[in-house]
């Protein structure tokens, strides 16, 4: 907490706008990447290279009629998309963006992160329930079951990181990776976390709650206009945040590669501002890579079946996660 409050507010403003904008960039990226995977050109009409396509989509969504089923619970039906976006945006406050640049450097950062991601499930479940449609209900049920099952493994993967760091503070976790990124010292935890992150963000192959082909959109079947747009926004913001969290926990966060070797170079010459910019860039690039991985996987793999999903979650991931936490704890107890 070495930054003055107005500056933090400014950073917060910037971060929220960055993530809102990143959602539209991600939509564009998703469409372009999928297009290249399919050997087709993708959006190329609105603006140069179709860059303005997501904005055209937003304008369309804003002007669309907001349809609410007559049998829906009106308050919850409007509340669910709002909850999704707010929770997704709140998570951004916890992410360390560069050394000393973080909106809320909470002592229990890792826990707060898990807590906020698990609130997101309420958005999906409430949306599925309040629409009063059977397809939405099935989507909401699948979502709650899926998120609860995978949250355990995710939490344990985070625990392995926390054990190695000895702190729940996210900035400490990043700084602890100064010499070696956790992906090298904690590979199992990293893989577990990435897999569960896919499940937590409802992305393919774990996109059962919205399974377009069986549930016709699942929990957001009955949403239209900007309410649907908010689910869409939350999905992409969540995807990007998941990438940031993966980077923060396992890929050195904002740290530049081998930063400890040449960090003095910047500090000695008073180029701290350059270091901050480089760190922001480094974090952004790493996160963009994982966002690409998310998109890449989505357009490559078929979707899991519900029973397969549960089997993987409970029979494979959870035992591995528990075993790994025990191993990490024992190793840390002996060597630390």
């Amino acid at each position: 907490m070495n930054l003055p409050l107005p500056l933090i507010a400014l950073i917060g403003f910037g971060v929220i706008n960055f993530f809102l904008l990143s959602a539209s960039v991600l939509v564009y990226a998703e469409r372009k990447v999928s297009a290249y995977i399919h050997n087709r050109p993708g959006p190329n009409r609105v603006g140069p290279f179709g860059l303005l396509q997501p904005f055209a989509d937003v304008v369309k969504l804003v002007f669309k009629e907001d349809i609410r089923p007559t049998v829906a619970n009106s308050f919850v039906h409007s509340f669910a998309p709002w909850l999704m976006v707010v929770v997704a945006m709140a998570t951004t406050a916890l992410l360390p963006l560069a050394r000393g640049v973080v909106i809320a450097d909470v002592g229990v950062g890792a826990l707060a992160l898990l807590a906020l991601t698990s609130i997101a499930v309420y958005g999906v479940t409430l949306a599925g329930w309040s629409s009063n449609s059977k397809y939405s209900l099935l989507g909401g049920l699948r979502s709650s079951a899926q998120m609860i099952s995978y949250e355990l493994s995710m939490g344990l993967a985070v625990v392995s990181v926390v054990l190695m760091t000895g702190s729940l503070r996210l900035t400490d976790i990043v700084e602890a990776q100064n010499a070696v990124w956790y992906v090298f010292s904690n590979p199992v935890g990293c893989i577990l976390f990435i897999v569960t992150a896919f499940a937590e963000t409802n992305r393919a192959p774990f996109d059962l709650p919205e399974a377009e082909q069986e549930l016709v959109g699942g929990y957001h079947t009955e949403y239209s206009g900007m309410k649907f747009g908010m689910f869409f926004l939350a999905e992409y913001v969540n995807l990007f945040i998941a990438s940031f969290v993966i980077v923060t926990l396992f890929f050195g966060g904002y740290l530049l590669p081998f930063e400890h070797l040449y960090v003095d170079f910047f500090v000695d010459r008073g180029l701290d501002w350059l270091l901050v910019i480089l760190q922001l860039l480094s974090l952004g690039l790493k996160a963009a890579f994982f966002a690409f991985v998310f998109i890449w996987v989505r357009w490559t793999l078929p979707r899991f079946k519900y029973s397969q999903l549960m089997q993987i979650g409970w029979k494979y991931l959870l035992p591995i996660a528990i075993g790994w936490v025990v191993i990490v704890a024992v190793v840390m107890a002996i060597f630390a």
Partner: protein
């Protein structure tokens, strides 16, 4: 349960088609199921706690058109299922009775619209058998080649859509790249990409150009590598295999009893392919294997169809080799259209053309025939009865999609909601054909 039955009894419960819908859902309620009902250990449970009646379709992305299933779910498991078809019914069989034999040809394109050439040829063969028309060899070989191309095109769509339903949207678009090659060939051969209508009673509309033959040869050379690519992508894909293995298992007795045909039959170990057991065209002169799997699950049907595409390429290659020169239509003006040269430059030719268009083929009175071919989806047969005029007295179509849909209810019961899309895909119905 009685309370639920009465729920649908009131005719104002349903806004549209109340009598039909009430009957459908009543049938769902009263249908006997082999599955254990929810809370099946004898403990009386509130059905509302875990049971749900869900209406899937006719406007549902996974139902391949306008198939409708009313299902009773226990959690995610489908307990009972009732199919409702007929949303694409156009009365095609009746239409045939008011058209001359040649006039009905474009309608056959719209039945199995994924393999129009097969239906064209099935119709032509039935009419030719009815009227005793001899077809020149070249026409038969070309037909065979095109029918095999249509088979590949239909199986490609089955694979693309099947994987898209399972969540891998990319495969759908990749499958369409190969289909595009086939469309180009059809474009060259018939002048139409989709609804080809190229076959004629007594032969073909036009001869195949050397460019078209080169395109076909090129396709036959390139396509096996494409299939190998699919196999590399899918045969070791854990998710795809797990979603298909052990799903929708049908024993040989089941499929025979339900009258399923085509790959659904061969996937359950019944070695039946009309191309081999009742050869039409020139299938007795080419060498091909009938792929058989004995497991009877979705995975077996997937392997059968993939292998069938390879065999089709083999048949196409042999057709290209053995394609004889010669006329492409019967020379008898009572049996087939006179050639345009004749029509434009001779009085007789023009009269023949006029007569053939207005009256066409007139099979002898009382003649009746059933002729079936092995379409991509299975046995596709036409039953025709003649009254001596240019229109059939009675036309009935034995469509493979309809036969195959008979097994869908059995497959769906006991499957999970997520399996539903895979199962509909594996049956591969085309509603244009099932509803006729």
């Amino acid at each position: 349960m009685s309370t639920n039955v009465s729920q649908y009894a009131g005719e104002d419960y349903f806004r549209f088609w109340p009598r039909h819908n009430a009957a459908l859902f009543r049938r769902l309620e009263t249908k006997h199921s082999w599955l254990e009902p929810a809370g099946g250990d004898g403990v009386a449970t509130d059905v509302l706690e875990n049971e749900m009646v869900l209406n899937i379709g006719p406007q549902h992305p996974a139902t391949h058109g306008v198939l409708r299933c009313a299902v009773k779910l226990d959690g995610e498991i489908i307990e009972k299922c009732v199919l409702d078809i007929g949303y694409l019914h156009r009365g095609i069989e009746k239409l045939a009775e008011s058209k001359s034999y040649q006039e009905f040809m474009p309608y056959t394109d719209r039945m199995d619209y994924l393999a129009p050439y097969s239906t064209n040829v099935a119709w032509c063969l039935a009419v030719e058998k009815l009227a005793g028309i001899e077809v020149p060899d070249r026409a038969q070989w070309v037909r065979m080649m095109m029918v095999e191309l249509a088979r590949i095109s239909a199986h490609l769509l089955w694979m693309g859509v099947g994987l898209m339903d399972a969540g891998a949207v990319s495969v759908f678009l990749w499958a369409f790249q190969s289909r595009e090659d086939i469309y180009k060939i059809f474009d060259h051969v018939a002048g139409a990409r989709f609804t080809v209508s190229h076959s004629r009673i007594g032969g073909l509309a036009s001869d195949v150009s050397p460019e078209a033959l080169a395109l076909i040869a090129d396709f036959a050379d390139r396509f096996p590598a494409v299939i190998d690519g699919w196999e590399k992508l899918l045969n070791r894909n854990r998710i795809w295999i797990d979603r298909n293995a052990g799903i929708g298992v049908m024993s040989a007795d089941d499929v025979m009893g339900l009258g399923m045909t085509g790959p659904n039959l061969r996937g359950s170990g019944v070695e039946y392919d009309i191309r081999r057991f009742e050869p039409y065209l020139k299938y007795d002169e080419v060498d091909f294997v009938i792929p058989i799997r004995t497991e009877g699950d979705c995975l077996a049907r997937y392997f059968v169809r993939l292998r069938e595409m390879k065999e089709s390429v083999k048949i196409i290659r042999q057709c290209l080799e053995k394609l004889p020169a010669g006329p492409i239509r019967s020379d008898n003006a009572k049996h087939a259209y006179a050639s345009k040269d004749e029509v434009y430059y001779s009085m007789e030719g023009m009269i023949h053309d006029f007569m053939y268009t207005s009256e066409g083929v007139t099979p002898p009175r009382g003649a009746e025939v059933y002729h079936a071919i092995e379409a991509p989806k299975g046995e596709l047969g036409f039953f025709l009865q003649s009254d001596g005029t240019g229109n059939p007295w009675r036309c009935h179509m034995n469509s493979p999609s309809y036969s195959n849909l008979q097994g869908l209810e059995t497959m769906l019961e006991g499957a999970a909601m997520g399996d539903m899309v895979v199962l509909i895909g594996t049956v591969d119905p085309v509603m244009g054909e099932a509803d006729k």
